[in-house]
Amino acid sequence: MNRLANPLAPRGLALPEKTRQIKLWVRRACGLDDDVVVSVTELACRKNGCPDIETVIGIMRPGEKIETIRVKKAIADVTSHDLPRG
């Protein structure tokens, strides 16, 4: 049967290897200890005004407010130059 492309298909995982690489860049740049959790998420928000796609990096230091870095690119396109310098 000739089916339309499904725009609602469940989202795949965004490149685990690249995600690990971004975490490593962030850890090095910010000099983070092992007890700090770094979260990397690709967001494609449907809300008007939000970028079509962006990578949100959460730096979760114990007992501190989460620090957020936003890169208006897909995870695949993020480079170390998009991240803050240590």
Partner: protein
């Protein structure tokens, strides 16, 4: 390597208003022999009768990934704890999260759809809401949190049923149904539900969308309660045109997602031998082909919306226009 769905750690979320019986259920899950080992994330450490290092206490920490956008808001504390727990994943089979009585269930649920690390390692199994049969009606009148916890539920454990008369119990159940017609309701005394009826349910699996037939009340039933959260269902026996439906449901989700707490549906697309299923939590929308329609199975399309002040007439009109051919459509109020 990404984990297969079957290798992901199932996560059950336990919500419920203050004093409903969440901790009683939690202690049962932790103490009874059911062959599964649980890691538990709790807010009130002291109330758990069991002490082991797989019980982790936490403070709710809302993480707005996109400034102010409710749909991109997750729970930072859960991301941290799940990361830490998964380093010991050989020591347990599933995770249980107990939220506070006043917690907003949306960021908890969204953590499992938005955050890539969490999605890679875990899968949201079901949201269980424990409700106190004696006090629920009063709580629903005064607390939006109590309504939203019911709205998000896949399973409602209607607890303390021994404390109410049969007529009162019927009224409580009817009120729950008006808010959430798709949840399975289990009656209990001291949360004595069979645990296999509430754990390992796969409620967010697209293969099980609307497995529980929505239970709508007779439209003539009294509507004296002006609930903050309500529900409605749209049904048609006419086949649906996917070229109209798919962009329409995306538009509806984008426009009304902030107030659309949950949505589920099964669609019979014209010329398609498979059922198409959709589900959403706020703006997080997904859908896919599920299984072939069975011989003799009535090809009925149904969408169930649960939300805050959703414009039923407008949504109904849009759905009607997605029919491949004009046919009768029935909208039922909850």
């Amino acid at each position: 390597m990404p984990l297969e769905a079957s290798q992901k750690m199932p996560v059950t979320v336990l919500t419920g208003y203050l004093g409903a019986g969440k901790t009683t259920l939690l202690n049962r899950i932790l103490s009874e022999q059911h062959g599964k080992r649980y890691a538990v994330i709790v807010n009130e450490f002291g109330e758990i009768g069991i002490d082991n290092d797989l019980i982790v206490d936490t403070d709710e920490e809302v993480f707005e990934m996109n400034n102010g956008c409710i749909c991109c808001t997750v729970r930072g504390d859960l991301i941290r704890i799940i990361e830490s727990l998964m380093q010991r994943r050989d020591r347990f089979d599933a995770i249980l999260i107990e939220t506070t009585g006043l917690a907003d269930p949306a960021p908890v649920a969204q953590t499992f759809f938005v955050d890539d690390d969490v999605r890679q390692k875990t899968t949201l199994d079901a949201i269980i809401t424990v409700a106190d049969a004696k006090h629920l009606l009063g709580e629903l009148d005064h607390a939006h949190e109590a309504q939203e916890q019911l709205a998000f539920a896949d399973i409602v454990i209607l607890n303390k049923t021994d404390l109410v008369a049969p007529a009162e119990l019927k009224a409580v159940e009817a009120r729950i149904r008006r808010i959430n017609p798709t949840a399975a309701i289990k009656h209990s005394i001291r949360c004595n539900v069979p645990l296999d009826e509430v754990l390992d349910r796969g409620a967010f699996d697209l293969n099980r969308v609307l497995e529980v037939e929505p239970d709508f009340l007779d439209p003539g039933h009294d509507h004296v309660h002006d609930d903050h959260v309500t529900s409605f269902s749209l049904v048609t026996e006419a086949s649906i045109d996917p070229r109209k439906f798919l962009p329409w449901i995306q538009m509806i989700t984008q426009k009304f997602g902030i107030d659309m707490l949950r949505m589920k549906g099964i669609l019979a697309f014209k010329g398609d031998e498979d059922r198409f299923v959709v589900q959403a939590v706020h703006m997080l929308l997904e859908g896919d082909h599920q299984r072939p329609w069975k011989a003799g199975e009535k090809r009925v399309s149904r969408l169930v919306f649960i939300g805050r002040n959703l414009p039923k007439d407008l949504i109904e009109d849009g759905f009607l226009k997605c029919r491949a051919e004009m046919d009768s459509l029935v909208a039922l109020n909850a």
